[in-house]
Structures are given as structure tokens and as C-alpha cells.
């Protein structure tokens, strides 16, 4: 009865990716909306130079704080820079920071988590202790401390955001990997006399891809938010680089009343982007692994 009683059959989880993608669009209207946002961001990133009307970094004093109109659809900021242009280029920064941090963080976590689960014993205990320690720090506190140590700036922000992701992902992946370690195909691989490296890379890692991918998408959203928060605190990406969090900082807040377009649009951009990544991640979770919970 397994196939019918459990609406999600193990077979469903193992369909090829395009079939899963198609299913996702059909069954996940919210998720598809998220995917659309993500897609838009990616397009904005790639074609920023072609679609944005102005130079994102050049000040234009004559247009200081212009309200939205036909020339500047979303208005201009205190330096007379077009907000739409900066939002489009900001997508690039957000995605760059988000993806790099998420990818490096999740991947390091993946390797650490799988190795920890596979080898077990003392290695596992030590890794788990370290993970505990880092996880006891709130994300923003850890990120702030790292930025304070390394200094602000795009690369350091990425590092700061990456570090707290590693243990988060390691923990989730480890629990999945522990379960997988108990699944007979790993024993089968051992009985076939395969080496540790082969077993980890070919037989375990591919099978923790579901939690990994889910963590990855959530991390992108989280990283974008975290970058915005750090930039807001003045410890993130620095001027004149277009970045959403940075656009909300300083003048944006101070002049919010007479120039509300300055804080509103970048804030919306952040919200929409994170919203998109979360919806996307949720849908991915539903499709890949309904039982995995975000922590």
C-alpha cells in the first residue's frame, strides 16, 4: 500500500530534475512565483548593463533627490543617482553576496556534515562541539564580529555571512547523512570494498543533495537579509557600490519623509528578493523532502 498511503512516494523524490521542476510549477503556485522572482533577479544581474538607463555610481547633482517621474521611474537618491538603476545593479551585488556566501557556506557545511556523519567517533564529537559553539552565536552577532575583525567591504561581508552558515548546514546535512549511513546501500558499498573517499563522494554526498539544495536557497535569502542588515549598520558593502542594504542606510532614513522613494524601493527590493528565495526554497522543500525542517 506504500505507493498509495503515502502520497509522497520515494520514487517521486528520485525523478529527474526536469520532471520535478515541471511538477513544481504545476503544484506550487507560490513556489513558481518565487522562482519567477529569482529568475528576474538573475536576469537583472546578467543584463544590468543593458537594461539600466544610467550609471549606477556616478553622482548627478542636478537631480538630487528627484521624485519618481518619466526620467527616473523610481526617483533618485541624495547623490542624484537613479534608484532603479541602483536597484538593478544592487541585484547583482545581492546575488553575488548571496550566492557566494550560500554556496561556500552550504558546501563547506555539506563536506563537514557528511564527513562527520560517516566517520563518527571522536571526529564527529569534535566537529559537533565546534558547531555548537558557533551556533550559539546569533547570526548577526557573529557576522558583526567577523566584519569588525576583517573590516567592511564586499568580500569581508561574504566571509562574515559564510561563517555562520557552515555549522548550520553541517548540522542539517549531518543528520541526513547519519540516516543515509544507516541505509543499506552504504553498507553495500562498504561490502564491495570501496574506499572512504568514494563512498562519501559517490554514495553519500549525492544523496544529501536535497537538504543541501534546500539549505542553499534559504541561505541565499538569509544572506541577502544579513548583508542588508550589515550594510544598514554601516558594516557591509561600501559606497559607491550599489547595494540594497546600503541604499537604506544613512540619508535614506534621514530624508525618508520628504523623499520616501529612497528608502521604500530598495526595502521592497530586498523584501521581494528574500520573499522569492523563500518561496522557491519552500517549494523545493515540498518537492524534494517534505519532512526536512528548516532550523
Amino acid at each position: 500500500m506504500a505507493a498509495i498511503d503515502q502520497t509522497i512516494d520515494i520514487g517521486d523524490l528520485q525523478k529527474p530534475w526536469y520532471a520535478r521542476l515541471f511538477e513544481m510549477v504545476r503544484h506550487q503556485p507560490l513556489g513558481s512565483a518565487g522562482a519567477l522572482v529569482v529568475l528576474l533577479m538573475v536576469l537583472a544581474t546578467i543584463f544590468a548593463n543593458f537594461i539600466s538607463p544610467y550609471d549606477p555610481e556616478a553622482a548627478s547633482w542636478k537631480h538630487q533627490l528627484s521624485p519618481p517621474d518619466a526620467n527616473f521611474w523610481l526617483g533618485t537618491d541624495a547623490f542624484g543617482r537613479d534608484i532603479l538603476t541602483r536597484i538593478i545593479f544592487g541585484a547583482r551585488t545581492a546575488l553575488f553576496v548571496g550566492f557566494t556566501a550560500a554556496f561556500v557556506g552550504a558546501t563547506s557545511g555539506l563536506v563537514l556534515g557528511v564527513a562527520s556523519a560517516y566517520f563518527g567517533g571522536r571526529f564527529d564529537i569534535i566537529v559537533q562541539r565546534l558547531v555548537d559553539i558557533v551556533m550559539a552565536f546569533p547570526l548577526i552577532v557573529l557576522a558583526l564580529a567577523v566584519v569588525a575583525t576583517l573590516g567592511a567591504g564586499t568580500v569581508n561581508v561574504i566571509i562574515a555571512i559564510t561563517i555562520p552558515f557552515i555549522p548550520q548546514c553541517a548540522r542539517v546535512v549531518r543528520s541526513s547523512a547519519l540516516a543515509i549511513r544507516e541505509i543499506p546501500y552504504v553498507d553495500a558499498a562498504r561490502a564491495l570494498g570501496f574506499g572512504h573517499f568514494r563512498i562519501i563522494m559517490r554514495h553519500m554526498v549525492p544523496n544529501v543533495m536535497a537538504p543541501y539544495l534546500i539549505m542553499l536557497t534559504t541561505f541565499v535569502g538569509q544572506a541577502i537579509l544579513l548583508e542588508a542588515s550589515l550594510s544598514y549598520l554601516g558594516m557591509g558593502v561600501q559606497e559607491p557600490t550599489p547595494a540594497w542594504g546600503l541604499m537604506l542606510q544613512g540619508g535614506a532614513e534621514e530624508f525618508a519623509e520628504s523623499a520616501p522613494w529612497v528608502p521604500i524601493f530598495p526595502g521592497l527590493a530586498i523584501t521581494l528578493a528574500v520573499f522569492g528565495f523563500n518561496l522557491f526554497g519552500d517549494a523545493l522543500r515540498d518537492v524534494l523532502d517534505p519532512r526536512l525542517r528548516s532550523r
Binding site: L30, R129, E253, A256, I270
Partner: protein
């Protein structure tokens, strides 16, 4: 718990010392006034920054045994006193945010799960994901501006929440009129997280065999949800509430900036920016301790809710 604390202590101590510059530079030269280099050296000496790192670390650790957590390098007052002033405020906001979160999250999450894939579900999910997506500082800015502009528009005089703290027991009305806004701003995200967890946990529990058993026994839906499903689904929700609470204590950093709250988050940013090592490291340790204690409390409640753990 202890190994984690020790690890955290080592990590934070050396992380901070890796940062170039120190509190004396800011304090004495920070305003651009002329300052003698010798004065700065004197300041370093007085604060013990000239000692070797190991000796400083030893002082830091032995402080825990003598209950001498050091003095703030910025104000010279005991760290305990400085934190003591700020802690109640942050705790109050965190608790209020938790209340806001729980009050909204559980019913919303439950409705969303029960009405899965209906427009109610979609609405709740959209609302809750928006809460996670929206930067809380941005929400804070919008709240303050909304209040200022709104009150001026409707009542003629602009009103904003108080910007200095009065304890709840002194003036409850003023206290609440200050803290309810940050509680809402952070509570929204918090409740969004908890709503999602409630929903997914409840959905999962509703698929369990024992719910089918309860249905097969002819129990009415209300009892099934309230007695059989909610209690089980509260376990993961509780965990997430605990985690978020611990994170909130550290994560108030940004919200406290927006609302000018004199809490430990603001103190943390200030002490990081001023390189006040003594303060920063103790604040981090406090936050870590809170995280661990929250875990511990969650475990206790867990055991109370889940008989498998109670006797297991």
C-alpha cells in the same frame, strides 16, 4: 553546556583581539581634537591592553571564578552594571515579541495547515514569508515614519514612541508605548517563523497514523486537532520558538538601533564599534549563555510535553 561556553570564550576573546586598533584611539582621538601619543599609551596601560594576550585571557577567565567580569573599557564602570541597566529592556522586548509571535503563530499556523492549499493557506503563507523576507529594521523605519506622519495627519501633532526607557513598574503606559513597536517589528518575523513551523509540523502530524486512529475512533475534528495533533506538533514549534528567542536576544541589534532602545543589542554595536573588548566579550558570552539556557528550558518543556523524553 560547559564545553560550548569555554569554546565560545576562547573564540570571542581571540577574535576580538585580532581586530586592529583599540578603545583608546577612539576615546581620545575620535573627535579630531589634538591628542598626545603618550596619553594614548597611558590609556592602554591603564586598561591592561599592554599586557601579553595570554595574561589578558587568564584575567578574563579567572574573572568568572571571582565574579569580576571586568570594567567597561569605555566608561570604566563594571560590565555587570552596564549590562544590568540594559538587560531588562531587551528581555522585555524579547518576551513581548515572543508573546506577539506565539499569539499569532499558533492559530494562524493551525488554520493554514487545516485549510491546506486553500486561499486562507496561501494568504497565511504569503503573510508569514513576507515577515521573514522583510528586513526588520526597514519595518521599524516604516513604523516610526508611519506613526509620525499618521498622527500629524490625523491629530495635527506628530507623535512618536518615547526614546528613553522607563521601567514597566514605574510607568507601564509609557513603557509599553515605547516597547510595543519594536516588539511588533521583531515579533512579526518571529511569528512568521513560528507560523510556518506550526503549519508544517501540524501538517506532518495530521498525516500520522495515530490521527487516522483517532478519526477511526469517531472523534470529532476539534478534539483531534486540539488534543491529538496540536500537542505533538508543538514540539518542533517549541524548538523554533526557543531558538528564535535566543537569537532574538542577540538579534535585537538592528531593531534597537532603529527604535533607539537602550538594550544589550545597541550596547553590543556600540562596544564593537568602540573596541570595548571587556564589554563585547561579556555581552557575547551573555548571549551565548542565554542561547544555551533557552535550549535547556526548551528541553525541560519538551520533556514535560513529550512523555517519551520524560522517562526515556
Amino acid at each position: 553546556m560547559l564545553p560550548t561556553l569555554v569554546g565560545a570564550a576562547i573564540l570571542v576573546f581571540f577574535l576580538l583581539r585580532a581586530i586592529p586598533g583599540d578603545v583608546c584611539e577612539v576615546r581620545l582621538a575620535g573627535s579630531g581634537l589634538y591628542v598626545d601619543e603618550a596619553e594614548i599609551e597611558l590609556c592602554r596601560e591603564k586598561l591592561g591592553l599592554a599586557k601579553p594576550l595570554i595574561a589578558q585571557f587568564f584575567d578574563f577567565i579567572t574573572g568568572y571564578f571571582t565574579w569580576d567580569l571586568g570594567d567597561s573599557m569605555w566608561t570604566g564602570k563594571p560590565v555587570t552594571e552596564e549590562i544590568g541597566i540594559r538587560f531588562p529592556l531587551s528581555l522585555q522586548v524579547a518576551i513581548m515579541a515572543t508573546v506577539v509571535a506565539v499569539v499569532f503563530a499558533i492559530p494562524l499556523g493551525a488554520i493554514s495547515a487545516i485549510k491546506q492549499d486553500t486561499w486562507i493557506d496561501y494568504a497565511v503563507r504569503t503573510f508569514s514569508i513576507a515577515g521573514i523576507a522583510m528586513p526588520s529594521f526597514w519595518l521599524g523605519i516604516l513604523i516610526i515614519l508611519g506613526l509620525l506622519i499618521g498622527t500629524q495627519h490625523f491629530f495635527g501633532t506628530p507623535w512618536m514612541p518615547p526614546i528613553d526607557y522607563v521601567p514597566l513598574y514605574e510607568d507601564p503606559l509609557r513603557n509599553l508605548s515605547q516597547l510595543i513597536w519594536p516588539a511588533v517589528a521583531t515579533g512579526y518575523r518571529y511569528s512568521a517563523v513560528a507560523t510556518r513551523m506550526t503549519r508544517s509540523a501540524l501538517l506532518e502530524v495530521l498525516r500520522e497514523d495515530y490521527i487516522r486512529t483517532a478519526r477511526a475512533k469517531g472523534m470529532i475534528e476539534k478534539i483531534i486537532i486540539n488534543r491529538h495533533a496540536l500537542k505533538n506538533s508543538m514540539l518542533p514549534v517549541l524548538t523554533i520558538i526557543g531558538i528564535e528567542f535566543a537569537f532574538l536576544m542577540g538579534g535585537l541589534v538592528v531593531t534597537e538601533q532603529v527604535f533607539n532602545l537602550n538594550g544589550i543589542g545597541k550596547l553590543f554595536v556600540e562596544s564593537v564599534q568602540a573596541q570595548d573588548f571587556a564589554m563585547t566579550q561579556q555581552l557575547v558570552m551573555l548571549v551565548v549563555l542565554i542561547a544555551l539556557l533557552t535550549n535547556f528550558v526548551v528541553d525541560l518543556i519538551y520533556a514535560w510535553l513529550d512523555p517519551r523524553i520524560r522517562y526515556g
